[in-house]
């Protein structure tokens, strides 16, 4: 009797396993005291960047809505979490439960903000939604900046309790693992497929009975929750938080990481966040003083060139001929086999626009020369 064996695709869990192994390794290293404080600082920054990028990637890469206010959610989490820890300090000290409570509070309030911002988002689309999220980020920042010094520190910033770096670091590693587990499982579940179908064609998704409203709202909430958690971690890792950090440029930085990592790819987001953060901190130590501006210039140029190379319609043929995969294939097999496609290769490499989908679906679609085979041309004469 043949029994259907459910094949576990290890490929899908590779990133998870790698990060789990890294968590164990770094935990042991930090407990044995072999990590320097600068390494821990770098790793903390990477963890925060990975959490932010992965959570934004769900909104932009999988739901297909542009959000320019991710730093706003992080700001809410950082302030609320930091304040909770400050309030708990007299009774509970710098204990683990206090940290846990502040993480939960920061995440929950940020998630609540996600719901609040998600509600108008249901009525809006595309660029209108982008500007609303941007406005939200600026509103949050302005409120915290003008708060009284007793409540949230105002323009001076809020000082948070100092936790033991090693404990905080391990907790952060476990949290990023949790974040990845939740988001990875969500994307690979049937809900994840529903979310991607909304991205690809909202009207068709609605017609097939997918509750678009509910999915959009829950994606916004989940993304906001993890951004809030990242904010709480940031507040403890920096000891002090200032609202000027969370301006719209920071939201855009996160968005850039998502785009450079590849839209709709969780692994890409993780890699991009890690590399950019390392590069950022390394360059900050090399380029000091007047040279610091070179870093921004370099980023801007790389960003423009990469986006044009990856998206320009004129370069499509060139891109397809010169992929890394093709080169690897040539290297291993000696010749290039264009018919070779992996079973899950049907990934999208760019966002199909709504207008484009309409064109494809409409009855007025006219075949252009590129869609015709050369030998079929005769029929149209």
């Amino acid at each position: 009797m043949a029994k259907a064996v459910k094949r576990i695709k290890w490929k899908h869990y590779a990133n998870y396993i790698v990060i789990a192994i890294l968590t164990v390794v770094f935990s042991i290293m930090s407990l044995s005291g072999s990590l320097t404080s600068s390494t821990i600082y770098l790793l903390e920054k990477i963890i925060i960047a990975v959490m932010l990028t992965v959570s934004l990637s769900v909104v932009v890469g999988f739901l297909g809505e542009l959000s320019l206010g991710h730093a706003g959610f992080m700001c809410v989490g950082a302030y609320l979490g930091g304040k909770t820890a400050c309030l708990l300090q007299p009774t509970m000290g710098n204990s683990f439960p206090a940290l846990l409570v502040s993480l939960v509070v920061g995440g929950a309030v940020a998630a609540l903000c996600g719901v609040i911002i998600g509600l108008p988002a249901l009525r809006l689309k595309g660029d209108y939604l982008a500007i609303v999220t941007l406005a939200f980020g600026e509103i949050v920042r302005s409120i915290f900046m003008n708060s009284s010094s007793e409540s949230f520190g105002g323009s001076l910033g809020l000082t948070t309790p100092r936790y033991d770096k090693n404990t905080l670091f391990i907790i952060a590693l476990v949290l990023v693992l949790g974040c990845l587990a939740v988001i990875q499982n969500l994307i690979q579940s049937k809900h994840g497929r529903a979310i991607t179908s909304i991205r690809d064609n909202e009207i068709a998704a609605r017609a097939t009975g997918i509750n678009v409203t509910q999915y959009k709202l829950s994606v916004f909430t989940i993304a906001a929750f993890f951004a809030g958690i990242a904010g709480v971690l940031y507040s403890f890792s920096n000891y002090t938080i200032q609202s000027t950090k969370f301006n719209y440029n920071y939201s855009i930085e996160i968005l850039v990481m998502v785009v450079l990592g590849g839209m709709g790819s969780i692994n890409g987001s993780i890699i991009a966040a890690t590399l950019i953060t390392i590069l950022d901190i390394k360059l900050q130590t090399i380029l000091t003083g007047n040279l610091a501006v070179l870093q921004d210039l370099l980023y801007a140029l790389v960003l423009i060139i990469l986006v044009i190379y990856n998206n320009a319609p004129a370069l499509k043929g060139f891109r397809e001929r010169h992929t890394l995969k093709n080169y690897l294939y040539k290297f291993s097999k000696g010749k290039h086999d264009p018919s070779h496609r992996a079973d899950d290769e049907a990934k999208w490499d760019r966002v199909p626009t709504k207008i484009e989908m309409n064109e494809v679906l409409s009855t007025e679609f006219q075949p252009t020369m590129s869609t015709l085979n050369p030998d079929q041309k005769g029929d149209f004469k």
Binding site: P120, R123, V132, S142, V293, L303, I308, N311, S362
Partner: protein, 290 residues
């Protein structure tokens, strides 16, 4: 009296916002892209003004130089950064625009440094009638911006190029079939938007003479907000949105309790208006067809 002063102030800064917003809205209407680098064109214009005023010492000459330079810059940016991406996803174009914005800011910082430059255009004093006291630059800004806006409306409504612009924004494919040079129209749109940005930069420096490489960032975002409030893609909408935002800002500055929250209030107005009218005050509702 203070109410009238506040209102005139608001109208004047609203005129500046409206001119920047026009740049956003026209580019959006015709090229269907959010030009995030538009705010930084203002900054570049400001630096051009600064350089001309140091070498020639004449603010009018500076304004002309700034307008010419901004027009050339706008066209160059469009040709190099946005044109290759025509037909690609809107998100890709947006990210490129953000890249261009960073590029302009960091280039300006590399050439001129981080310290703010003082650009004192002219000290014209105040216009006084009885208890009413209005600085002259407010009146100049108000009059100029309204004249420019009326001229632009006339240009779009009556000239051949203006009609072609409307046609391209309605339906690019159909416009091309009617023999309109779409690429040329897009170039002209960028040129007009950049020229308006240069004027707006001139008015902004007349009001507050401090010039740094982030001069255009916040006004850019606010003007973008104004364009969305008015309904992005609509020229009268951008004017309305800009003036509304300017007046709200001026009133909010005058009330001490809410003055620190001025930015938050302006963005709140955006969210509220979009909740009531999801396409802005004058935006067209486009039905999505399957």
């Amino acid at each position: 009296m203070e109410i009238i002063e506040t209102l005139i102030n608001g109208l004047s800064s609203g005129g500046t916002y409206a001119m920047i917003a026009l740049g956003y809205t026209m580019v959006y209407g015709i090229a269907k892209m959010l030009n995030f680098a538009h705010g930084d064109i203002i900054m570049v214009g400001g630096y051009m003004l600064y350089v001309t005023m140091i070498t020639a010492g004449n603010p009018m000459l500076g304004l002309i130089a700034a307008v010419i330079f901004c027009v050339l810059l706008g066209i160059t940016v469009e040709k190099i950064a946005y044109k290759p991406l025509r037909g690609a996803s809107p998100l890709a174009v947006l990210i490129t625009a953000i890249g261009v914005s960073y590029l302009l800011q960091s280039t300006a910082q590399m050439i001129f440094g981080t310290a703010p430059k003082m650009v004192i255009i002219a000290d014209m004093g105040n216009f006084e009638v009885g208890a009413l006291k209005i600085p002259y630059y407010t009146i100049v800004t108000l009059v100029c911006s309204f004249v420019i806006m009326i001229a632009l409306t006339m240009f779009v409504k009556t000239t051949k190029i203006g009609r072609a612009m409307v046609a391209v924004s309605e339906d690019r494919g159909a416009a091309q079939l009617m023999g309109i040079n779409v690429n040329g129209i897009i170039m002209i749109t960028f040129a007009i938007g950049s020229a308006l940005a240069a004027f707006a930069g001139f008015f902004m420096l007349m009001k507050a003479p401090s010039l740094s490489n982030t001069l255009g960032a916040m006004p850019g975002i606010k003007a973008f907000t104004a364009a969305v409030i008015g309904g992005i893609g609509s020229i009268p909408g951008a004017m309305c949105g800009g003036i509304l935002l300017g007046v709200v800002e001026a009133i909010s500055f005058k009330i001490p309790v809410i003055a620190p929250y001025t930015d938050a209030i302006e963005f709140m107005i955006l969210i509220l208006i979009l909740l009531v009218r999801p396409t802005g005050i004058m935006g067209k509702v486009r039905r999505e067809k399957v």
